[in-house]
């Protein structure tokens, strides 16, 4: 049926059904975003440097004595990590919005909420996870007592997943706005508070020598709720920002 035409490329494809290929589309989006981050490692470092800088403010602001620092260490580490992750959320869709690829993502014949999941996964992998791995290092700076380093990393690793997912809803809503970054943090910070409470709660329990896996399980539960509910909201907010 394809009548050969002048150029080397054959004629248009006959009209076809929307095949599967969802997995391939998500994998391709995941790989593309990962390559984009790899090409500009500076962007991925910014949240980590911000995290370290915020941590160094506290000994200067409060006191260098290890005993006093140890008291505030769990809370300060978690809040600083949360703010660093929040900082990087504004760029989650903004790059794609400006160069037009976000509009093309909405045009793919696959459910947008799953494609968006691939982008959020890259954000977590390049922001949330590094913050969680770096946190113990900064824990030493704040004389964080022994026994809660693992709790710190584990809760941050899972908790930053929630932050990426819920934060992406705010990022989707504010991607089209000129000064959306400030508004974004105001929209999503209230939604991060439960994760913060259980994150620092787990560290407190670990410090007391008690069981902290229960707290981690609650963060895991929050993460699974976010995994189920957030993508739909992210897709809806992107459609609002792009098509109004």
């Amino acid at each position: 049926m394809n009548t050969p035409m002048s150029g080397s490329i054959e004629a248009a494809e006959p009209v076809r059904e929307a095949g599967d290929g969802l997995g391939r589309a998500m994998a391709a989006t995941f790989r593309r975003d990962l390559t984009a981050v790899a090409r500009r490692p500076g962007d991925a470092l910014t949240p980590l440097v911000f995290f370290a800088m915020v941590i160094t403010l506290f000994p200067l602001g409060i006191s260098p004595e290890p005993e006093r620092l140890a008291l505030i260490a769990p809370g300060v580490l978690w809040v600083a990590a949360l703010l660093s992750a929040l900082l990087s959320l504004d760029g989650l869709f903004r790059g794609d919005f400006e160069d037009g690829t976000l509009e093309q993502l909405l045009l793919a014949p696959h459910p947008l909420s799953l494609l968006v999941l691939a982008k959020v996964a890259v954000h977590w992998l390049t922001t949330g996870l590094p913050l969680a791995l770096m946190a113990p290092l900064l824990g030493v700076l704040l004389a964080l007592p022994q026994g809660s380093y693992l709790a710190l990393s584990a809760t941050l690793a899972l908790g930053s997943g929630c932050i990426s997912l819920i934060g992406a809803i705010g990022a989707g809503l504010t991607v089209g706005l000129a000064r959306g970054g400030m508004l974004l943090s105001l929209l999503v910070l209230p939604l991060f508070m439960p994760v913060l409470i259980f994150g620092t709660g787990a560290m407190g329990a670990a410090l007391g020598g008690g069981e902290w896996l229960g707290h981690l399980a609650v963060i895991g539960a929050l993460l699974s709720v976010a995994l189920m509910a957030a993508p739909v909201a992210i897709a809806a907010s992107l459609r609002i920002s792009i098509h109004g």
Binding site: E10, A12, E17, G21, A27, D99, Q104
Partner: protein, 213 residues
Amino acid sequence: MRLCLEARQLACERDGRWLFRGLDVVLKAGEVLRVEGPNGSGKTTLLKILCGQIADVDGEVRWQGRALPRARADLLANLLYLGHAPGIKANLSALENLRWYQALGGEGRPDAELEAALAEVGLAGFEDVPTAQLSAGQKRRVTLARLVSSRRALWVLDEPFTAIDVAGVAALERRLASHAASGGAVLVTTHHPLSNVPGVRRLTMDGQRQVAS
């Protein structure tokens, strides 16, 4: 199955004003439909409605005879939409950009064919250069390479002729004509007369924004 996109009695209200009302559009295989009208007359909005991107409008859009909300995935599987923005990631190479579009659309063309498409738009040798380092004209041609590399039946192009030199315009017109001749369909907004594209139909948006009552 012959391509057929049609819209019945489309009416779109934007913030209290009728962008257009009672609009009928039919686009069949082999046709090139040019949408023209003053700026702000709703050309881009009409395109987005016909691609199923904007849904809260009156009237009905049908793809292959099926109403849009249900037929939306099939429409998108056959759609190639080029908007105002280039749709190219700056720190990725032209080839990587095309590869992403192939996977997104589930077409899975081999790299050789993508490189051939880039060569055909005059980007031979620039396949692996990050597009940030290409000139504006070259970036434009990477976008147009999608027309060559992706064989979707329905092309919807929003002002594709902007920032293209004379030779580029002629090449693009030839490509639109050959796509229509081979059974595809083109819906395009442009201020360009499309003089040497045979059988161009025109849809004029009068831009008369009556009050929505």
